[in-house]
Symmetry: C3
Subunit: 473 residues, 3 copies
């Protein structure tokens, strides 16, 4: 049976989270020669016992331009993503579900521990819940979680529904010295084993593949591991996970028991409301506070919106001012909601690429390059992704359905410059400059400049949906 | 006629400010394999209604090594460079003329406005000068102006003579995530239209070309623009500038009227004198003060010289200590003046490339690489450019005419290390190290070390001009 | 004779510290596609009058991945490395010997000077020791010395034994804008002349080569040099060193006499003990204090150990917290000592590559990549080097001999994450996560987590040496 698996696995490519020998004409990272964009869906899926990881093609020119990879973990109830670390900073958005996670930092204290009484008998066999470990955190739908490069972490689905995590890995980040692609290093399991034997997945045409990523313990000598852990060879061998058939997301039948404070969503929201408007001091060096740094921020709650228009939608950002660890990761994110017949003003981002993932509905998105040509003019639907390169102009128009999305930015404080509206670049121009630039009268220039009083999210008249109708002045 | 223009335009290359499909053997940015430098002049010109932009060849190995582009705008009286932004930080030096400019930052307040009385009737048609807009600034010959990457800006020639702006665009800067070349995004006009039909330009052999850059509004749907600005389709169409034949620099017949304080050169100079010696605090994050940041500094005024030798010349720097926004741009600049028969001491810059543009006269410049070979030994004349790569040793010798120049550095605080003079590396060596290094007596070592009491700018004896004459001890 | 030298020199490659015209398929810097590592020894040696420089092959994929070069200077008693500067930051470890060095910073004051009385007659010929020059420093075995990019420096062997300096040059550092390789610019001598004519060197198969590096004065015109220094042409000619046959390390017969305070090793050690635990403030800008910055730190003294296990060994780091100039160089270093039968816990570094140079003994080193495959499993001996790429897991096991090494990190505060021991990532995991991850019982998970109470350096039972013996529980 082992040999039949071997021959079977040869028909799967060993490509993920790694590098290609055959990749000859490798585009230089950050070289954005994009003539035509298109909405992207995942091209690859890796099945495991208790979930699946879907990957967007990191060789696609959009992702090459932005220097990022995008993946989506779908984790079943009581499923756990095995402990691992990545060579890039990582931002995760919780699209659906809830659970908890741990980030292990070598040297940080084990601040979560069972009560004193139980601890006394700690090493006894029968006392099940006695433990002490590093801080773990809880998350729920709408959270952004920040994982520093090289920090080992795990995640567990505590709820009854699927947990969906959309993750951006920024391989062009300074923190990555390993080169163009993101690589995940597991410290448990046998991720390469995977579960490719399973049948078709919902009719989707994703290539089923195995992780190139493996378990680093597998590369060490068992004797050395036994010495390093002070255990016998049998346990040391289990570290290597060679017989593990579960893949990188494993099922925990009886549920995961850890030491942790009770979780109350209402309390958390109350705290968030209190936090609003508080700008923490900038951190000077993450190393001093890495053990206690806040790494999570909810951006789904409408009460946290940065820009809010009751008729048209809202826009909520998380950046290094609201979540200081992002100054270390050099990444930020935002959540956008556009109602039916609403527009997000044409704008460009001065200092970042933007990776947009649609979470609900659809929008017509137009992206324009420096030549004045539309490199994208398309309806982008739920589950699809587009990259807006730095400085490219973009407009979003939600038509019949409305649209919700999350966007990741390759700068910890992405600066949006709008082209229309009350805070726009055009509004900053003298009327005479507008009149001369567009060869219109001063009166028309005044209308261009002042007609829209909203800032970023506009209510549309609905006329733009059909280009046949004549526009009324 | 439209079709005849089309066929005509095909004979022009669409190359500027963009990228090349045919560029196969692209040199890696920052890889400085220079065996031979030569003074560079612009190779390309783009003619517009009220001015011309000249471009140095950004594929030239000197500019590739430095990771920068250099361009020169020559703007006629009452000409305006249309609003645009660039994917790189930009330093402009005002070689000649005067005028004003605006940098539009989304979200910055409109702090320049007409007086209260006039404002009441603001939206009325007849009241011409009623307006409010973001801060605009004035400039004159000798100014350095700093434009952050992605910040939209425009410039207007208010004077009666030509306005000449020499601009460095630093595409290897961290702020640029779009790749190797600088790209300009216009938000008005029709820059690609250009004015190539015009005749020869002063007998120069520049290729006449069209901008690859266009107007980003051109890529959007007119309906969406109409919605976004809340205007009718006719005005929205004017945003796209499709019928605009003026190119990227337009003539404003009646002159540009904006709200602004009176300009007094004497007052400004008085303020500059007061500023001297004041070192502002370093900014921690540009975003807090970007709306009010000082972006301009005159480096032509002899009273601001950092190094001054009445017989030989002067040297004036602007860096992040004197103009704090430069810490954000990671660029600096300097102005040098050498009188007849004067020498700028042999030196190297530890942390930056240097791009030297000669504004008057000529100098014999020698540049030496790590092999001890001269990669340049040439007379460099007015209007020519040479790049001095990081760490390369350089000496300038102004002979009969004297020489003036501006230089741009790819670091916000370029550190010069001189090889001779009172503050030189040689002066820092023990006499015994000098004697042993150069196999000379201690007495000779002392002369090498102490003979020159000047620091950077020396008066030459004039003997070096002719290499035949025997040097006298 | 001159022509015979010429034909002779053609048989030597002009390769060092420079770039290759023939290097066609240049690997992109930082692209770490390593399937197999092997311990590296120097491949090239450059002989000079009073010493030799040995170079590791900077085209080797390990060094390409780390973006660094490694060289070793062996300087005889009374030998001096001629003044020079490098386009990269440089960390030197004093493997053996003692001496003093100078770093010349243009504009820094000449703070070392002869006593007042002697100074009065300073320019007189006969008064030998009268001088003033910039600060010079002393060093001894076990010191790390930090040289900023582009800072000229020299070093002298004051002792009676050989001085051995192991130097890391970080060409992928931000401070280097010149491209992939490190280049050394001499400001004295004639390094290309070298001493290749000498015979075999201890039977080693090193290629004998000449420096590509030369003396920058050689590229300048003699007349201009004479003017710049205010000396006659004969002395100016000596600056160029054209007749100098000594190479880059020269012998100073009578010994080097400089102005300096008396050197007392005991005093220095006393000061070091006082310093322990003192964390200096972070510097905001090196330019303010570059003249007085501390650039040296001893990491050999056991009393400075950061991690100490009397039975197993010690580990001593120097980073930007203990030597603040390293925050400017973005490099750090550490010294490790493992006794016989000791293990350095399996670990990964989250934010840096590690370049390990064995100074004594040998260790079995295993390095594992993200696929879980050992890219190195070898005994690495004294004088050999291995690179541990960022995030790769590594374990060291000193068997019969014990092992000592120095390691350089490509980050000024390299963060080690251990996989076993009291401060490990595994220790931070809840017992239930461990049990589920490795499919073991909670009891076994507890043993994995708690059995090793040491942190980084463990005493081994010695069993791992022979893999035949059965492990006892």
């Amino acid at each position: 049976m082992a040999s039949s698996w071997l021959s079977f696995s040869l028909s799967f490519l060993l490509v993920l989270h790694g590098t290609f020998a055959q990749q000859r004409y490798q585009q230089q990272q950050g070289e954005c020669q994009l003539n035509r964009l298109s909405p992207q869906e995942p091209t690859t899926r890796i099945q495991a016992e208790a979930g699946v990881t879907e990957l967007w093609d990191q060789n696609n020119q959009q992702f090459q331009c932005a220097g990022v990879s995008l993946i989506r973990h779908v984790i079943q109830s009581r499923g756990m993503l095995l402990p691992s670390y990545v060579n890039t900073p990582l931002l995760a958005y919780v699209e659906r579900g809830r659970g908890f996670y741990g980030i292990m930092q070598s040297g940080c204290p084990e601040t979560f521990q069972s009560s004193q009484q139980m601890q006394q008998g700690e090493r006894g066999a029968g006392s099940r819940f006695q433990d002490r470990h590093q801080r773990i955190g809880q998350f729920r739908q709408g959270d952004i979680i920040a994982f520093p490069a090289g920090a080992a972490h795990w995640a567990y689905n505590e709820g009854n529904e699927e947990l969906v995590l959309v993750c951006l890995e920024d391989s062009s980040n300074n923190a990555n010295q390993l080169g163009q692609f993101s690589r995940r290093f597991f410290i448990a399991g046998n991720p390469q084993q995977g579960q490719q034997q399973q049948g078709q997945y919902g009719g989707k045409s994703l290539r089923r593949e195995r992780f190139e990523s493996g378990n680093v313990f597998n590369g060490f000598d068992v004797e050395v591991l036994a010495e390093a852990f002070g255990v016998d060879r049998e346990i040391a061998r289990r570290l290597q996970g060679q017989d593990d058939q579960r893949g990188h997301i494993v099922n925990i039948q009886q549920g995961l028991r850890v030491v942790r404070p009770p979780f109350s969503q209402e309390q958390e929201e109350r705290e968030e409301r209190q936090e609003q408007g508080q700008y923490g001091p900038r951190m000077n060096g993450i190393e001093e506070t890495i053990c206690s740094a806040k790494v999570r921020q909810n951006i789904d709650n409408p009460s946290r919106a940065d820009i809010y228009n009751p008729n048209a939608g809202r826009f909520t950002t998380v950046n290094s001012l609201t979540l200081p660890i992002l100054s270390f990761l050099r990444l930020s994110a935002a959540r956008g909601v556009l109602h039916t017949d609403s527009i997000m003003a044409p704008h460009w981002v001065t200092n970042a690429h933007k990776v947009i993932y649609i979470t609900r509905g659809e929008a017509r998105i137009q992206i324009v390059d420096h030549r004045g040509q539309a490199v994208l003019d398309d309806r982008v639907r739920q589950g699809q992704v587009v990259v807006v390169p730095q400085n490219y102009a973009v407009v979003k128009h939600a038509e019949t359905e409305g649209c919700e999305w999350v966007e990741f930015n390759t700068n910890d404080n992405a600066m949006i410059n709008t082209l229309s509206g009350r805070t726009s670049a055009i509004r900053g121009l003298p009327v005479d400059v507008i009149a001369s630039s567009y060869q219109i009268s001063r009166d028309e220039a005044r209308r261009l400049k002042f007609n829209r009083e909203e800032t970023l999210i506009f209510r549309s008249s609905g006329r733009a949906r059909s280009s046949e109708r004549v526009a009324a002045a």
